[in-house]
Symmetry: C2
Subunit: 191 residues, 2 copies
């Protein structure tokens, strides 16, 4: 029995650790975050983190894994008009990064990516490249790959200025206003 | 006479310090960079950094100050067609962030902004907001402010994926190919 009262295997313990992990990495980034501080925030014994995730990297990868399922972002867009598809894509992306979990995940990724190579790889592979892949069928042939990368750049740029840098117009902007203004830009990449 | 052979006031000493500063902050970010390591890279005595810039923050601010003069980015665009203006804006922005100095400056800003409040403010005020202001007269009335912020988000997103995250299509992309693909997106914001 751990001194904090949560036992291995207690329902929700693993999830509580992952939530605390995203929150700590979002605040301080990978390098500056200790396993002890995560355990303390989750209210568990530090040994439990090792029990579940083996290493700090293992914990980081597990915490970053699910929050942006790109297929959900681009699913069912093909039946829509180009404008409607662009609006829906921006709307879903904003909903993902505006949720507590999504916001912590993107903050954690960006904060960690600048000091940790594995986090940078994760930001590139699981987020930026996945985003690009998820819109690939909407961007057509020819320049489709470049267009998809630029759509990803637009969405990630919005998330950066909204949640990391805090540019007023985007940080406090009504999501539907952002959707309406960004959709024509993204639509320009759809065939 | 400093032991490294550069004297205060020697021509180019101050510039050499600023170049070394941008390079060190670009590699390690603000918090992890010591004045000693900057002095060593610049080949000067650490006391010279204090002589010129007083504090680490003073040095950081001086090093970040000039590299993206936004007026240069948006100057003389009004006489062009919307498409040409958008192309020229992207072309100039890429030229700025692709130069050694510009690339180090944007890396230093992003790397430092995640761990240092003053760097985050600088990234917001001198870069993102300046970018938005610089295209403000091209984005028209009504939603102009939001459009300008989204143009800034697009450009900064490109710089992030090209130089910080390293998304292949953008990191290795020919600048003119990026210009041609991004211009219609940005043009959608011009009145």
């Amino acid at each position: 029995m751990s001194r904090t009262g949560r036992r291995p295997g207690a329902p929700g313990t693993r999830d509580a650790i992952l939530v605390a992990t995203r929150r700590r990495f979002a605040t301080r980034g990978y390098e500056a975050t200790s396993l002890r501080s995560i355990a303390s925030e989750a209210g568990v014994d530090p040994a439990l983190l090792i029990h579940y995730f083996k290493t700090k990297q293992g914990l980081f990868l597990a915490a970053m894994e699910p929050p942006f399922p790109p297929l959900v972002l681009s699913g069912d867009l093909r039946s829509l008009s180009r404008r409607e598809a662009a609006e829906m894509l921006v709307r879903r992306y904003l909903a993902a990064v505006d949720s507590d979990e999504g916001r912590n995940a993107i903050l954690a990724l960006v904060r960690s990516a600048v000091s940790n190579e594995q986090a940078a790889t994760l930001l590139r592979e699981s987020h930026a490249n996945e985003l690009a892949r998820s819109v690939r069928e909407l961007t057509g042939d020819g320049d489709g790959e470049m267009k998809a990368a630029l759509v990803a750049a637009q969405l990630i740029g919005i998330a950066m200025l909204r949640h990391v840098v805090g540019v007023d117009r985007l940080a406090r902007g009504d999501p539907e206003k952002i959707v309406a203004t960004a959709a024509p830009m993204i639509e320009a990449c759809f065939h």
